[in-house]
């Protein structure tokens, strides 16, 4: 912890970075994002096992980018988000200063995207057993049961868009749901509006979601939205051999075309 404060204080004082995105103690025992811009603020940095939020969602926010070069304490989901954002040309190599806390508490600084790729190769990026269990439960349902499950969940949705705002991959300047000419998705938080919004969002994250679960954690109505995108990860891997957020130069499975692509799924 002290090592982190020391490093960040140095980085800020020699102006290597303009802001460091890390964690601080929040309210009611929560841990939250901290944007350290000077040595005083850096004193509040913490680095422990409560630092689970994926901070990569802040990297593309205009007001944060304006603060200068960004340093970030990236956990595994954040590192994968950075890789995915890089592959989508949203972050340039070496534009960020990326630190990660290793399981033994030591810190690693990455000099470039390649070193992050190497680090991720040896990291556990699998989903938890609890998540696997939930997915298995969903997959064992009949189509009708599954539809009922999601209908009940979506009924709770108030369309606050916290899921979208918390998602590091939902960075579109104008989300499909905000477009009104034509109006693709009903604005209302009624049955159809909620269903179309969540399915649209899940489909747009197919092959891009790095399963950090921020969408579900952000939901004030406790909708397990991560299960929607998780369920798309395996089919994408099976059909296209891609896992999101592992390579900075990966091509996005659903937006590339090769003349020798198999077309056996076209009827």
């Amino acid at each position: 912890m002290n090592e982190l404060i020391k490093i960040v204080t140095q980085l800020l004082s020699d102006k290597t970075i303009g802001v460091f995105i890390g964690y601080e103690k929040g309210s009611a025992g929560r841990t939250r994002a901290l944007f350290a811009r000077n040595a005083d603020q850096a004193q509040k940095l913490i680095c422990d096992d409560t630092c689970t939020q994926n901070l990569a969602g802040y990297l593309l926010k205009p007001e944060i980018k304006k603060l200068g070069r960004i340093g970030i304490l990236a956990n595994i989901p954040a590192l994968r988000s950075i890789m995915q954002l890089a592959s989508e040309h949203q972050i340039k190599d070496q534009s960020l200063l990326v630190l990660t806390a290793n399981s033994d508490g030591s810190l690693t600084e990455f000099c470039d995207f390649h070193s992050i790729e190497k680090y991720l190769e040896t990291s556990d990026v699998n989903i938890t057993s609890g998540e696997k269990e939930m997915i298995a439960r969903l997959e064992s349902m009949t189509t009708t049961e599954r539809r009922e499950f999601w209908s009940r969940e979506f009924e709770k949705c108030i369309k606050c868009y916290a899921c979208r705002a918390a998602c590091p991959m939902c960075y579109c300047h104008r989300c499909t749901t905000d477009v009104n000419q034509p109006q693709w998705i009903p604005v209302a938080s009624h049955e159809m509006g909620n269903l179309e919004y969540h399915l649209m969002r899940a489909m747009h994250l197919a092959g891009r979601c790095i399963n950090c679960g921020e969408c579900a954690k952000a939901c004030p109505m406790d909708i397990p939205l991560n299960l929607l995108t998780y369920q798309l990860i395996e089919p994408i891997r099976e059909n296209f051999g891609k896992t999101a957020g592992m390579k900075a130069d990966a091509v996005y499975a659903l937006s590339t075309f090769n003349p020798d692509d198999t077309e056996n799924f076209i009827l």
């Binding site: 108030i158 369309k159 004030p220």
Partner: protein, 340 residues
């Protein structure tokens, strides 16, 4: 009217709910729904959860639902024929077991929707709603009602308030004419309270953490301090969770949903936290960045509301802080504004 004080036995609550049900009231109360407690219609007392500190969403949805039809229309060759929706077409409702802060939230909504032009969709529903609040015997660190003029036993906005004064008894305060009418439905279950019955000793202890007058003054005078608002809001991710769970946030959007033959006009919750909220057709956005939107949220509640109506537009329930994915804690922010 002068307040009346009575005693009701806990054991008689099922009867009380039964009376309202059989009188044709739609009874809404906190009920468990999956992992959360929400205000929903109840058939019997057994479904009601009275020990939850707060429901996830506020009570505002009773009179200001997230989606509400305000007009129907037919699209004919000769033009559009409108079919108005009758605002009176709402049932007599009992809102039972909400907290004093929720009841108090309706006072802000009454001012907003009652202002010219009066919003009949809200007002009629509110008019037909009787509110029985339960005073708070517990609070958590997000609560700050006492800092914004409320309190765990505040009766503003309630028609009746029940305070648990022993494991068996509730102190009943009959506060309004509507409350008196409702109490008549269960008058036989009420007994006189002994003189000097004091509810305050049974209430939660919620410490005052800031002087609200300071918040109003400092928020207003800091309007142009962009650094200050940026500092406050860097963590904000720009969703609408705070506004949608807030008992006093009243902003809405109107959307037409139609096919080639007919359509409906819907009134939907909206939030000043969204960038789209102020986006002009020209592409210009007067609140271009999140710090300006956060400032608007604070200014509306602590500067514009006191200026326009009576009092601040915040009841200190802390729902926004609990719901915030980024831990924007309004109590903390207001404390720092007051201390500026």
């Amino acid at each position: 009217m002068d307040k009346e004080i009575k005693i009701l036995k806990y054991g008689d609550l099922p009867k009380l709910i039964g009376r309202f049900n059989s009188r044709g009231f739609k009874v809404l109360a906190p009920v468990r729904s999956g992992t959360i407690v929400e205000i929903n219609p109840v058939g019997s007392f057994e479904e009601i959860v009275l020990d939850a500190l707060l429901t996830r969403q506020s009570a505002k949805k009773v009179a200001f639902p997230k989606v509400e039809k305000v007009l129907e229309f037919d699209i004919l060759k000769k033009g559009v024929v409108q079919h108005p929706v009758d605002p009176e077409a709402c049932p007599e409702t009992l809102l039972f077991g909400v907290r004093p802060c929720d009841a108090c939230g309706f006072k802000s909504l009454d001012s907003i929707f009652g202002d010219t032009p009066a919003d009949q969709f809200y007002l009629k529903k509110k008019e037909k709603t009787t509110i029985i609040s339960f005073a708070c015997t517990t609070a958590d660190e997000y609560c700050f009602c006492t800092s914004v003029g409320g309190g765990p036993g505040n009766t503003d906005g309630s028609d009746l308030q029940f305070t648990p004064i022993s494991p068996e008894e509730l102190l009943v305060e009959i506060l309004t004419d509507k409350g008196k009418e409702a109490a008549a439905l269960f008058g036989d279950l009420l007994t006189d309270a002994s003189t000097g019955t004091d509810k305050s000793q049974h209430l939660a202890d919620v410490k005052v953490v800031f002087d609200v007058k300071n918040v109003v003054d400092k928020a207003t005078s800091s309007f142009n301090d962009t650094e200050f608002w940026l500092d406050q809001s860097l963590r904000c991710i720009g969703c609408g969770a705070c506004a949608f769970v807030c008992p006093t946030c009243a902003c809405f959007d109107l959307q037409d949903e139609q096919n080639t033959k007919k359509g409906v006009r819907l009134r939907l919750w909206d939030s000043c936290g969204f960038s789209l909220f102020t986006l002009h057709t020209s592409g210009h956005n007067p609140r271009e960045v999140q710090s300006q939107r956060w400032r608007q949220r604070i200014m509306h509640k602590f500067s514009y509301m006191p200026e326009q109506f009576n009092g601040v537009g915040c009841v200190g329930c802390g729902r926004c802080s609990r719901a915030c994915p980024a831990d924007m804690n309004i109590k903390e922010h207001l404390t720092s504004i007051a201390a500026q």
